[in-house]
Every structure is written in C-alpha cells, then in structure tokens.
Subunit: 223 residues, 2 copies
C-alpha cells in the first residue's frame, strides 16, 4: 500500500506531478475549472484530488477563495527533516532486528552501484540510488504504517527537488556513501541501536547539507 488507496488514482498522481513540477510558482492559484479543463474531467474529481493534495501539504485551500500552490516554509522543511531522521532511524533499527532479509542484498548492490555512479560522475543516477537506498530501508523495516507516513512525508518535502542540488557536492557524495556503508554494516550485525544511530546521523548530515546549501543558494524557500 502506497500513499493513498490500493490502486493510486492516476488523476491524483498527475495533478501532484503538475504542482511538484514547479511550473506554477508558490502562491499561484489552481482553480478547479482550469484543472478540470486541463485534465478533461469534471470539477468533482478535481475537488477530491485537491483535498488530498492539501492533506499532503502541497497546496493550500482557502475556503470559499481557492486553492493555491504551497511551498513549505523553511521552518517546515526543518521540521520535516527532523521527522525524516526519526522515521528512517526507526526503520533502520527495525530492519536490523529482522536478521537476514533480501533487502540487505538490495542495499549491498545499491552501495556498489553508487560507487559506480560516483566513478562515472553520474549525478542523476546517484540521486536515484540515494533515494532507493532510503526507500529500501523503509520497506525493509516491514512496517506498512511507517511506510505510509514516510511516503507522505517525502511528498511534502518534494525531496527530489531538494536533493538534486546537493548531489553536486562531490565531497558530500563520498561521505554519504560511506555513511550508507556504515548503516548497512550495523544492520548486518543486528546492532539495532547502532543502526538507528548511524541512520539518524546520516539523515542529519544530509539535511544539514541541503539546508545550508539552499540557504546560500537563495532558493525560493520563503521565510
């Protein structure tokens, strides 16, 4: 089960991508009639979709006024990263307790491929692999509710938009992969305390990277 129901409504996905694409600046109005024309459906399903997106924190619905693209404030991003640290740490700890599960080999391969991508200077592929590593930790925790909340969190963070910027720091890349390796080692040792701590340190470090970077880069992270 992913973020909403069993079979993700294509419409929800499409509208979400539209707002995540960034082609609407924050604060831009998303009128129901406009979207219904854009996606060739009636206002009713658009309405339902917008409510979901509001719930995910991607848009803001001002009652009787309209729906607007919402960019998280800097403070919210900090909060979300704190949560991310907690959830991923929890997941790593749970995964460590599970012993030898196939996810561990997936992580192993991920690290190997990450090394390869680093050698190839393939930043895009590297970003993908990072995402995959973290996602595997989550699914490997074997806790569907945790996964649900995590997906929700990542949607709110619009994570890929953030991580692309940091993927260009070569120093960070090396450190990050090394941290991944430590996490996996701890998990293999069934050291769930260590795994949780290592994962949290890793998330914390990457969050710091993203936040300090975006501050200087003057991205439109309002407030």
């Amino acid at each position: 089960m992913r973020v909403d129901d069993g079979a993700e409504t294509p419409l929800l996905e499409r509208v979400r991508q539209l707002v995540l694409s960034g082609q609407f600046p924050p604060g831009a109005p998303l009128s129901e009639v406009f979207l219904s024309q854009e996606f060739e459906v009636s206002r009713t399903p658009i309405r339902e979709t917008l409510k979901q997106l509001q719930h995910e924190g991607l848009v803001e619905i001002r009652p009787k006024v309209g729906t607007f693209v919402r960019e998280p404030t800097r403070r919210e991003i900090v909060e979300l990263f704190q949560l991310k640290e907690g959830l991923e740490g929890l997941a790593a700890g749970l995964l460590a307790r599970r012993g030898n599960v196939p996810e561990l080999d997936v992580l192993e391969r991920n690290i190997a491929e990450s090394d390869q991508a680093t050698a190839d200077q393939d930043a895009t592929r590297y970003a993908e692999l990072v995402h995959e590593f973290h996602r595997t930790i989550i699914t490997g925790s074997d806790n569907s509710k945790l996964a649900e909340h995590y997906d929700r969190l990542m949607n709110q963070l619009a994570y890929h938009r953030l991580v692309l910027r940091t993927a260009e720091h070569p120093g960070r890349i090396k450190a990050s992969t090394s941290e991944h390796r430590v996490v996996l080692e701890m998990i293999r040792d069934k050291d769930h305390f260590g795994a949780e701590a290592a994962m949290r340190n890793h998330v914390y470090a990457s969050a710091r990277e993203v936040l300090t970077d975006s501050r200087t880069a003057g991205q439109p992270l309002n407030s």
Copy 2:
C-alpha cells in the same frame, strides 16, 4: 493546525465519531445515501469525508462497491505502536533540547493530578490525563509536522478505545505514572538521549500492556 485543514469541518468530525463509536461492527457498509440522510447533507460532502476517513485508515473504500468500517488488524496495531514509540520518543528528545518551556510545568501538574486521580480511583480521569501527558510531549516538541503525523496516527489507533481497557490494571497505573515522572526528569535535565529512551521505554511498556491484555480479552481485533 490539527489533522486536516485549519478549521476542522464539523461533518468530518461527526462522521469520524460515528465510525469510532463502534456502533457499526467492522465490515459494516456505510452507504453514501444513508450517511447523507443521517447527517442531512448531500452525497457530495459525505463522499469527501469518506475519502478522508479512508486516508486515516478508519474505513475501507472498495471502488464501485462501497465503503466499509475497517478495524485495524492486530498486525497494524503493532505497527502503529512501533510508530508511536518512535514519534513520541522523538518528541521527548526534541522537547528536552528546548530547555525551560511552559510545557514542562504542564507536565508537572499533569503528574500531580494523575497521582490524585489514582488516589481517587478515578480511572476515566486518569485515562484523560495520560492522553494529555502524551499530547503535551508532542506539542512541546514544537514541531507541527510531527504533531500532524501524530494526530493521524492516534486516529488510526482509535487510541482511547484501547487505553480504557488497560486503565483498569492498578499495577500498570502506578508504573505508568512513575515512568512519566522519569521522562519529565530527563527532560528537565536536558538529557535528550535519556528523555527519548525513557519515553520509548514507556510507550513500549504501555503498548505491551494493551496488546497482551486485548489478546487475552479476545477483543474483536481480527487476524
């Protein structure tokens, strides 16, 4: 900001209470027309409400078939308690870092009142206070996103229904209040590692109590 939008729609709250009240057994159908008559609104707002409740995990919408009351499986309850442990632990740690904030005095008073309620054998009041203690930890973490996810989690757990059963174990009550005291002490000492650990231990212990109790009690926790 609470669980959904700024000003909680009364309808959502009312329908949620209806399904949480337990007067519909799990699996019972919730037809839109029935609810629309029950609450004297049209099907459209009912529909939106049901989608929200599905998202909260309280009902299951089988497309083209209908909406049904959903009781979390035992496995899901375990998962939710794992999450609860993580989130509340995280919150306690964050609160500990904040130094002297008014929430600490609220917690202090809460413990005092809990002692009083214990002396008075007032189980209902005690359950309230427990809930309040945990909620204060959350708000005291000063992380609105954490609070959002927490509220969502608690809705899924239908927590009060569970905790009422455990409130009758006098031994557990004493231990629980004592654990609360330890948590507060750690927070006052700004020992965020200790606070987090203490909080997690506490949540873990109470979860164990609830789960072992309900297993023997044969509550309708299916699966």
